[in-house]
């Protein structure tokens, strides 16, 4: 979503789902995995004003399908074909929201003449590097430096016409042949969802891991973005692209940049290249539009910012976020004379990838010595789990923090290496073979400590402590505070320059109680304070790049304030008024950024800034208030408050994008595998390419070519998924007797047709195998799976539960022992959802 809108977040929020006319749920079994969110769609269904219709697209008929108005099957890994057909249908039948499209998106922008697409490849491809040169993926600029546009959308080089051409190949018959979707069902989906292109209607898309866990995961989401921009559904109540996140604070962990490629607040992490060598170079690199500007110090840069940098967007303020971050982390040691200690930050090798799969590949080669495991369980949840488990044997030391001894904490036991079959290709060890030193730190449970979590719609809510930690277990906050103190002690007095980041790191979080640090001290630093007096900075517009403000994460700035001299942490707010009736609840908790509940909400009014979309009076979120000369509304405007009709940026709702528009065409390689999505088959697929000549996403990195399974040995498609009684790798549910009892066994679902072919009956033990390993499971023969008819070719798909392992009250074989080490071309998110297998009776 970030390449299209500027932020990679759920655009709306859970309660807002009640405001929609049509919901498309795709790549998610929402009724089972986000049941409370699903409740809001049900509210919409029974609201006479909305009469919400629900569409479910999934390889399997699930509990979500059961409550949907319309269900359409799809073969795993063919989402872009399905959605590309929808884009084509919208364009061929003029179902797009024209006023929205022309004003709020880059549909009218002209693209360089050199940009082209042929045989499944965009211009600039280098096969030897499996990478593109992005030079031609850019706009045309006039002599005044302005992007050339054609608001009639007729120019052959405008984004709209290029889009039309690109997706003209995605006709309904071709799409149905690739996806296995029955034509009549597919037609119904097209008709119903595209009805939301009418200005008085909104439609929402809800997705989860069924969309992202693919070699084309990012482009799957980009296809959603194109559809929602065409239909005018972004930035409006009941609209949006709603990523249903699967872990309670995965949003917060991402915000805090527990990812190699960013630092807190979604700023690219610095690399070891010349253009990152000092603070000024780094600011030049991360500030859009600054590349060629004449400045050599912060003073000169500030003058340019004051005058305005064209095509920079809100990221024009990046320098303030970086300097405030450095100030928060390194205190007095960060000052104007030393680049605010920018050199302390680690510079990653620009030529390397450090993401999950790469990390385990490096570990498997013995390149990593020590590992911290913070409440995660890759021996169950990691792709190619056999390999990831073997990688742990190569570590010198490992620190595991969890409530329980999960499979990763006990990877070295005899139990950890039991296998379903004797397969010489997969590793088998005993404890005496494994030299890894393991430290297990017992962690407190969620309600045995206090802190905040950012839910999927960016609402940050506080958790109060309801019980003491069990035994000697401690909160992770205490563990990290203590560890930080001890590491600092070991380095105390060091004068080596390489130790300065630790010696000078600010670390003062002790509280009154020796067992709990003062959480508000952490909150104040994270959300930002004035260096002079320690008072909260009230919002990120007040952050400075002169060292007078400190802020650990600029997007959380504004979550703290002083009221009557008392420090207020807004995630603790519990006031329930909802004056708009739209479910915004502005004083319940706090949402980043700046308590905006629906981002890009400028789009909820017409370009004039005042009028709601025709016939849609009650879904206007914000408006230009002539009397006060500023933006006002039910929601906090996701817009610069004073930008009025006289300002050229008045119709630029996507403030985090340099061009201010929603991007149908993604320029300059923000998506590495193409400005538009293109359907490529999964790495392991039963089908040859039909739409183009590429067997696989041409940019996806192939880590283990020798492990690619083919249809001769592995003719059946496999996918993985969750059930409502369990969660993720199961550590937090298989250790709970009530849940273990509800869902005690590892099952594999298969169709009646495949079961008959293989002589398998419901309840039989079966073996499922891929090139990565074999697992045992109990067969669940069901009508929920049906064989796909792919242009006359019959292909079977089976489904495996994700949650099982060898620890806890409910145990079973690990599904991820089957999944491959290959990931999305952009994010390296692993392909858990489509691979080839075989199945037989045990």
């Amino acid at each position: 979503m970030s390449p299209a809108f500027g932020r990679g977040v759920m655009t709306n929020h859970m309660i807002d789902l009640k405001n929609t006319n049509v919901a498309l749920i795709m790549g998610s079994n929402m009724a089972e995995n986000h049941p409370i969110g699903m409740k809001w769609l049900m509210k919409g269904r029974f609201d006479p004003k909305r009469q919400t219709k629900i569409i479910h697209v999934d390889p399997r008929f699930t509990r979500t399908s059961a409550v949907a108005d319309l269900y359409c099957p799809i073969r795993s890994g063919t989402d872009i074909a399905f959605l590309g057909g929808m884009i084509n249908y919208i364009l061929e039948n003029d179902l797009y929201h024209k006023e929205y499209l022309v004003n709020y998106t880059n549909a009218s922008f002209l693209i360089k003449d050199e940009f082209s697409f042929e045989d499944g490849l965009f211009s600039g491809y280098d096969a030897s590097k499996r990478a593109y040169d992005f030079g031609t993926w850019d706009y045309q600029y006039g002599p005044d430096g302005k992007i050339l546009t054609d608001e009639t959308l007729q120019h052959p080089r405008c984004v709209f016409q290029l889009l039309k051409k690109h997706f003209s190949r995605y006709d309904i018959d071709t799409v149905c042949k690739i996806t296995g979707a029955p034509k009549n069902k597919y037609m119904q989906v097209l008709e119903l969802f595209c009805s939301t292109g009418a200005p008085d209607k909104t439609g929402t898309i809800c997705y989860a891991m069924g969309i992202t866990q693919h070699t084309v995961g990012s482009q799957n989401v980009k296809a959603f973005a194109i559809i929602q921009l065409l239909l005018g559904n972004i930035g409006r109540p009941g609209g949006g692209i709603n990523a249903l996140r699967g872990e309670n604070n995965v949003q917060g962990a991402t915000d805090m940049a527990l990812l190699f490629h960013i630092i807190p607040g979604y700023i690219d992490s610095p690399t070891n290249t010349e253009d990152n060598k000092d603070l000024i170079s780094f600011i030049r690199k991360i500030t859009p539009g600054a590349a060629k500007l004449p400045f050599s110090n912060l003073n000169e840069f500030r003058e340019l910012v004051k005058a305005g940098i064209p095509y920079s967007g809100w990221r024009i303020h990046s320098s303030k976020w970086v300097v405030s971050l450095l100030k928060a982390w390194y205190g007095d040691a960060a000052n104007a004379e030393n680049d605010f200690a920018y050199h302390y930050l680690p510079k990653r090798d620009a030529s390397k990838n450090y993401s999950h799969i790469a990390l385990f590949e490096a570990m498997h080669k013995g390149e990593i010595e020590g590992l911290f495991v913070n409440g995660t369980n890759p021996v169950v949840g990691g792709p190619n789990a056999n390999k990831e488990q073997e990688a742990l044997t190569k570590l010198k030391w490992m620190v595991s923090m969890d409530l329980w001894l999960n499979e990763t904490a006990e990877f070295w036991t005899y139990q950890g290496w039991e296998r379903a079959t004797n397969n010489p290709d997969v590793p088998k060890y005993t404890p005496k073979d494994i030299g890894t030193e393991v430290f297990f730190l017992p962690a407190a449970a969620v309600y045995e400590k206090e802190g905040t979590a950012s839910q999927t719609g960016r609402w940050v809510q506080f958790r109060w402590k309801g019980a003491d930690p069990v035994g000697e277990s401690r909160s992770d906050l205490w563990i990290y505070n203590e560890l930080g103190k001890r590491i600092k002690q070991l380095y105390a007095g060091s004068t080596r320059p390489e130790d300065e980041p630790i010696v000078n790191m600010t670390w003062d979080y002790d509280g009154h109680d020796e067992h709990e640090p003062d959480i508000l001290k952490v909150a104040n630093e994270m959300c930002g304070y004035n260096v002079a007096d320690g008072t909260p900075v009230e919002g990120f517009a007040q952050l400075k790049d002169d060292g007078s403000t400190a802020c650990g994460n600029w997007i959380y700035c504004g979550a703290t304030t002083l009221k009557d001299g008392q420090f207020v942490y807004k995630p603790q707010l519990r006031q329930k008024e909802d004056p708009s009736g739209l479910g915004l609840f502005p004083n319940w908790g706090w949402a980043w950024p700046m308590n905006r509940r629906i981002v890009y909400n400028r789009c909820s009014v017409q370009p004039d800034g005042i009028n709601p979309w025709p016939g849609d009076d009650d879904r206007r979120l914000v408006w230009w208030d002539e009397a006060s000369g500023g933006w006002a509304g039910w929601d906090v405007p996701d817009f610069i408050k004073t930008v009025g009709p006289d300002n050229p940026a008045f119709k630029d709702p996507f403030i985090m994008r340099p061009e201010g528009k929603g991007c149908i065409f993604s320029t300059n390689g923000v998506l590495k595998d193409g400005p538009f999505p293109e359907h490529y088959e999964p790495w392991e697929s039963p089908m040859p390419p039909i739409l183009n000549k590429q067997p696989l996403n041409p940019v996806a990195k192939v880590w283990e070519p020798e492990k690619q399974g083919n249809t001769d040995k592995y003719p059946i498609i496999a996918t993985t998924y969750r059930v409502t009684e369990h969660w993720q790798s199961g550590a937090l549910t298989r250790n709970l007797p009530w849940l273990a009892e509800l869902m005690p066994d590892m099952i594999v679902e298969l169709s009646e047709e495949l079961a008959k072919e293989k002589g398998i009956k419901n309840g039989h033990e079966v073996i499922v195998s891929t090139t990565r390993g074999d697992i045992k499971a109990i067969a669940c023969v069901t009508k929920r799976f049906k064989p796909f008819n792919l242009g006359g070719k019959i292909v079977h798909q089976i489904g495996l539960l994700w949650h099982y392992g060898f620890k806890g009250y409910a145990t079973g074989d690990i599904a991820n022992r089957l999944t491959p080490h290959i990931g999305d071309a952009n994010t390296m998110c692993p392909e858990y959802k489509a691979f080839l297998c075989d199945i037989r009776r045990a």
Binding site: N272, K277, H343, G451, L477, N481, E482, G583, W738, G808
Partner: protein, 203 residues
């Protein structure tokens, strides 16, 4: 800042109402009075947010804080004040009591979930068992391992540029932690020079 008394009254009010409609088939008045007194004695309802999916549902923890003894749960249930779930809970949310306590299958007694680990544990290289250790030893030893690995693998400069990184230490996970915890983790790891830093968002 704590939740106001008024809001908690609303929570407990809802609980009392659900008691009233129960038909137990015997003299409920005396029994209910006795049960009620026992159940609410020393109990404070405390709101939290569910640790499973990211919907952000609120739950209320009712726990009895007993003088000189370990806290004991009464229940964990949906928070009726939270606008996201309005008091509802899915099967996982409804089982959150078990995160800490269970009923012993043999005696029916309420006990701490035996799968919870109560002390830091250490597994020596090539050993086939855990050994209990104290926090002081564990934290100190881990800090020493970190320093040793960092110091011997640290890349201070590269091509004339300060790069301050180590590629020998990695950190994964954190999506189950609170924001403040993630923040400290991110700050500490980066100041150590860790670049192999990943969370569940990737997978």
């Amino acid at each position: 800042m704590k939740v106001t008394r008024r809001q908690f009254l609303k929570v407990t009010g809802a609980t009392a109402a659900s008691f009233a409609i129960l038909d137990l088939g015997f003299d409920t008045q005396a029994t209910a009075a006795a049960i009620k007194e026992l159940r609410i004695k020393n109990v404070t309802p405390v709101p939290t947010i569910c640790p499973y999916c990211a919907s952000g549902c609120g739950l209320v923890v009712y726990a009895e804080h007993r003088e000189g003894k370990e806290t004991q749960l009464l229940s964990v249930q949906g928070d009726p004040d939270n606008p996201i779930n309005e008091g509802c809970a899915c099967p996982k949310g409804a089982a959150m009591f078990n995160l800490r306590e269970i009923y012993d299958p043999h005696t029916g007694e309420q006990i701490i979930n035996p799968k919870r680990v109560k002390k830091p544990l250490y597994r020596a290289p090539f050993s086939d068992k855990w050994v209990e250790k104290d926090w002081d030893w564990m934290l100190q030893t881990i800090a020493e391992r970190v320093k040793e690995t960092r110091d011997k693998s640290f890349i201070h400069t590269e091509n004339g540029m300060i790069v301050n990184r180590t590629e020998k230490i990695a950190s994964i996970g954190g999506s189950g932690l609170d924001n403040e915890e993630c923040y400290l983790l991110s700050k500490l790891m980066r100041s150590l020079g860790v670049v192999y830093l990943e969370t569940q968002a990737r997978i």
